[in-house]
Symmetry: C2
């Protein structure tokens, strides 16, 4: 069970500690709002960072990939990993460039993943599917034994994690208050467009509900 | 000069090599379309992945942070690093979950960064500023010596990079063509909302032009 967020020497925020959040609900919310994580792993002293679809399942994150993927074999072998999720919420225009910045929510999870056992693999894949494509699992063609055998699912516990949230309007130096430049925030959000169909079937209600345009 | 993309053993795509792009223009285009990179670095065998604003400057990427940031001190010291940029372009609904996926463009740059010399720091910061806030540099309050002294700018050459592009409609197994589920793509894009002002000045033309809503 996750009892604290940002509470280890490796996850305590040294820079801008006022942006740190230490409640598990914010960690959950940031992870649940993202579709893609950036996964860090090390090989021969070189870090590699790869984008992966993911989902949170209680107090762990689930990632899936091919059994032929080096990243997933390394993850399943328990190499130290880092899973980082970032939601970009806006561009912050301060009156100085120095205080200009981005608004974002970001979560970082450190640790060693483990392969999800074969008996639990299909349920874990469903959790990922339900996150990325809510309501889709039951209408899609069922997963086959061969597909399951070719898929690795790994779980990384949320035991060691941190969350940063930068939000709100710019904070200028008091002496810059009169500088004659607009200051404010341009909000950014990942927005769905109109679905593009590859056949003549109408877009079903679950897809419309999952991605309201 | 960057002469090839995806051409080293560390950047050659082993999984789904058909997604690899090897032209420098695609590498440039992916980097130029993104505001945030995920930067990987290693400390005591543990990878850390952190989101950073960045910009491309010719055949290098520029990142800036506080001189008090451990990440930036490690980058400036030339530790092996990985800078990954991902643009999420859509959710791909195949008729099977197995072939469902995401559309995305992703670039990965490997190597060792170096600190930008003091004499070039302001010009490098301007490149980053121009990327994140086009047209803003000249109207913002000028950067001070103290702010420059407190900022580290590092450059990572594009010598060793790879680019992956996944786009288009889902590819189902031929035997799934008749499965009675909608198939297609829900496009996703990072979209600006209406600017929120922190004062009574009108939103200026450069901000409106940079973030058309």
């Amino acid at each position: 069970m996750v009892t604290s967020v940002g509470g280890t020497p490796r996850t305590r925020l040294r820079r801008l500690p006022e942006l740190a959040r230490t409640d598990i609900d914010t960690l959950y919310a940031v992870l649940d709002a993202a579709l893609v994580a950036h996964v860090g792993i090390v090989d021969a002293h070189q870090p590699f960072v790869l984008p992966c679809a993911f989902a949170r399942d209680g107090d762990r994150v689930l990632l899936h990939g091919s059994t032929g993927s080096r990243l997933f074999r390394w993850l399943a072998a328990g190499r130290p990993a880092c899973v980082t999720v970032t939601l970009l919420d806006g561009v912050v225009y301060a009156r100085s460039m120095f205080h200009s910045s981005m608004n974002y929510r970001s979560a970082m999870v450190l640790g060693r993943a483990a392969a999800v056992p074969d008996d639990d693999k299909e349920a874990a894949l469903r959790v990922i599917g339900d996150h990325l494509m809510p309501g889709r699992w039951d209408s899609a063609r069922p997963v086959t034994r061969k597909e399951l055998a070719g898929t690795l699912v790994v779980a990384l516990p949320l035991d060691e994690a941190s969350v940063k949230v930068s939000c709100g309007l710019p904070e200028d130096e008091p002496e810059d208050a009169g500088w004659p430049a607009w200051a404010g925030v341009v909000p950014l959000s990942l927005s769905p467009g109109a679905p593009v169909s590859d056949d003549v079937l109408p877009v079903p209600p679950d897809v419309v509900a999952a991605w309201p345009t």
